[in-house]
Symmetry: C2
Subunit: 452 residues, 2 copies
């Protein structure tokens, strides 16, 4: 009965990008998408801006609705359908229709798993209380908004100082809450930046009015009627009206237990360059998969919209019989917290130490525009390069308006094995409103070449 | 008597970068710089912003004064000294001390020519009138400012719609003048952009209130007491209080006639990768030299601060005995006109036609930020690629805030022979305040790959 049916589990970026690609290549193919929520193709990255009310409605974050996919693209999207099991020997999946509360088996000819990630949250009593929130699905964002509207919280504790934690700190500050962040490491953005650069961000967010507790670990909660009254750390108890988890995310792959589909780091699905799993006719894409890091040559777990879109496109191509390959990523990420911009690509010092790669670093301070041009902002650039060859291994940027997007030159350089001298030689754009005559990334490369 | 003396002709970006580099490597070397004006190391690119009064004094454009070079760096800078002849067989130059109005011969051991460029201006009667202005040296900027302050002109005609012409149009609009531009081609930025992209800029500057005359050529001037009253074109006579030349620049190399130093395109000095001329012990750098274009593999004339700084650094290294090489450029340029940003890199359609390279192009419209993020601005990206290989050959960007600097990824891609697929695969940074999930340069690459 499966005929040539393509079944896709998950209706956000990776799943719907793949569905759309297959539809373009195979206009008559039967495509069914099972999505556990009410929404498809939304920008989870936009949730903090919905919470801050920079964006007025959750619907603005939706790129294409289930109706659009059904009516315009002939893609059979079934929302409120949760897939609970994959039976690969019999090529079928078990689906829970949450509206009817009925389970059924659905056969597939080809299967794409695009179930995304979920906020990591430690196993402490109270983590599922009424006023704890993760940030992942659009529904999770709507839950936060509804809670704020209804309960008018005055204080929030964010557990974790990664980029989602910091973006949510901005959003809640804008909403007028008193915001505290509990961060386990000595500096925020511990997995994003080296400690010296992280310290600059820690200082910046303190300047924004965030109460930042570092080197401090979540131990539990003080609860009352399933509502958290205080967050308990190894050092203190912090009263709060709500808790947001910003400790990173992990793949939604529990339902694949016993499926025979191989999982890798953090239980993310192992895939090849065509996004195929180890099981024939089963693909995976997006935040539920591992990513090959092009610099460390190791598999890593990176949950990012860019990779979800790229891997979804490649999965769709591959399912439609094309030969596109997703080569991997270099770990580029960017984040804005009020007026501060933070960007990074490649490897951190701790990654290089773990890989036993001898490296050198240099950090420079420059400006985003010519020194004399109005509104020239501060920018700090740190580069990491291989000791003898001078090959770029990583870059980190902190600054204000106009700083962060410069990371893209470094990401391009990294991907194609450029050396510091190659970066110095690049013919980058210059005019006083855009840059000093030496772009800050080149100034950093010049300093590091001189140091070598 | 020359001993080991290094003589440098020209005290701006290229000359002083070289002087500083030699000083760092050779602390005791005798270095004399002859500069025809009163100023050293200034940003000529900043002149339009001085005219618009975004920058209050001309001195703010000076990075290092002659006194600083003399006192802190032991570099013997002699301002108001014009070099009129180079006698290479006898290793000496003829210098006019403009203060004393005395000429003398100065021997050299090694010589660096860094005399820069000057505004190109057609040979018509009146071009040297009291109210005609070029934009090149800091003095030329001060002349314009003084003229405006003293004579309160109400109208200006800019001859030429290149980037200097457009930047000056912005500056004079800000100063309250009624500005007309006469442009010989059918669209502005004829040497910067393809006509389809140039048309967008033409429309944009008309929207700013500039009276733009295209397909129209300067024929002469109506003069009264050595002051221009009207600009005469092949179609009309335009009354005006002042005239600014924005027709590009040409190298300051007339004084090298009969020196034996080989000149190339537009009479720019021919140099090798170490910035050596054909004459032993004579180097050249900056806007007076040719540049190797890395994509066309032809020599071109590009007058830009970035190249002046880079070639000055390489010349200094080479003079000091190091082995650095300046590889060439890919023709990157960027320009801001009020809220509009324009950037380009690589080759134009007309360049590719001339080189008989088969190419394809695609143009896309996108946004600078996520579609739902406030202040997301328009951006148009055009890419040119080799027909069969898909290798990138050029890129052009027009947009508003946040658009132009994306050209740097394309410049990096061009320099290292990346294909469109390589660009699609790049791990560029994304977060809603910075970009759509596919960066516009990648969206353009995707469209062009699909077209192929």
């Amino acid at each position: 009965m499966a005929d040539n049916t393509l079944i896709i589990i998950g209706g956000d970026a990776a799943g719907m990008t793949a569905a759309s690609k297959v539809r373009r290549q195979q206009p008559d193919r039967k495509i069914i998408v099972f999505e556990k929520s009410d929404y498809t193709s939304y920008s989870a990255c936009g949730i903090p801006y919905f919470i801050s009310e920079m964006i007025k409605t959750a619907e603005e974050l939706v790129v294409r609705s289930p109706e659009t996919f059904r009516n315009k693209f002939n893609i059979d999207v079934r929302t409120m359908h949760l897939v609970t099991q994959v039976d690969t020997p019999n090529k079928r999946i078990k689906v829970l229709d949450k509206n009817k509360n009925e389970e059924f088996w659905q056969p597939y000819n080809q299967l794409l798993i695009a179930t995304g990630g979920k906020p990591f949250c430690p196993d402490v009593n109270g983590k599922d209380a009424d006023n704890t929130f993760g940030v992942s699905t659009l529904k999770s964002g709507i839950n936060i908004e509804n809670y704020i509207e209804k309960n008018k919280p005055k204080t929030a504790v964010i557990v974790g100082g990664g980029y989602i934690g910091l973006e949510m700190a901005e959003a809640l500050l804008i909403r007028g809450l008193k915001v505290s962040i509990i961060n386990r490491s000595a500096q925020v953005m511990n997995n994003t930046l080296d400690p010296d650069m992280g310290a600059m961000v820690s200082e910046a967010i303190r300047n924004l009015g965030v109460q930042l507790y570092q080197d401090e670990e979540l131990k539990g909660f003080e609860l009352e009627n399933n509502s958290i009254k205080a967050v308990v750390t190894d050092k203190q108890s912090i009263p709060t009206d709500m808790v947001v988890f910003g400790m990173g995310s992990s793949p939604n792959t529990e339902f694949l237990k016993d499926s025979g589909i191989e999982l890798g780091i953090k239980n993310a699905i192992k895939v090849n360059g065509q996004m195929q799993t180890n099981i024939e006719d089963v693909w995976a894409a997006g935040d539920c998969t591992e990513t090959l890091h092009l610099i460390s040559h190791k598999h890593v777990y990176i949950a990012l919209g860019t990779l979800a879109n790229k891997t979804g496109l490649v999965a769709g191509s591959s399912i439609a019989g094309e030969k596109t390959i997703f080569p991997g990523a270099v770990g580029t990420a960017v984040c804005k917290i009020c007026s501060y911009e933070v960007a990074r690509t490649g490897l951190l010092e701790k990654d290089l130490q773990e890989l036993d790669i001898e490296y050198v670093t240099a950090t420079i301070k420059s400006k985003t525009r010519a020194h004399y041009y109005p509104n020239s902002k501060d920018i700090t650039v740190k580069l990491l390069a291989e000791k003898n060859s001078g090959r770029l291994l990583g870059g980190q940027i902190i600054g204000e308006e106009g700083a962060a997007k410069r990371i893209d030159v470094l990401a391009t350089a990294l991907t194609h094995n450029l050396t510091l001298q190659n970066i110095i030689d690049l013919d980058l754009s210059y005019a006083p409103p855009f840059s000093p005559v030496w772009d800050p990334v080149q100034t950093a490369a010049r300093k590091l070449v001189n140091d070598i």
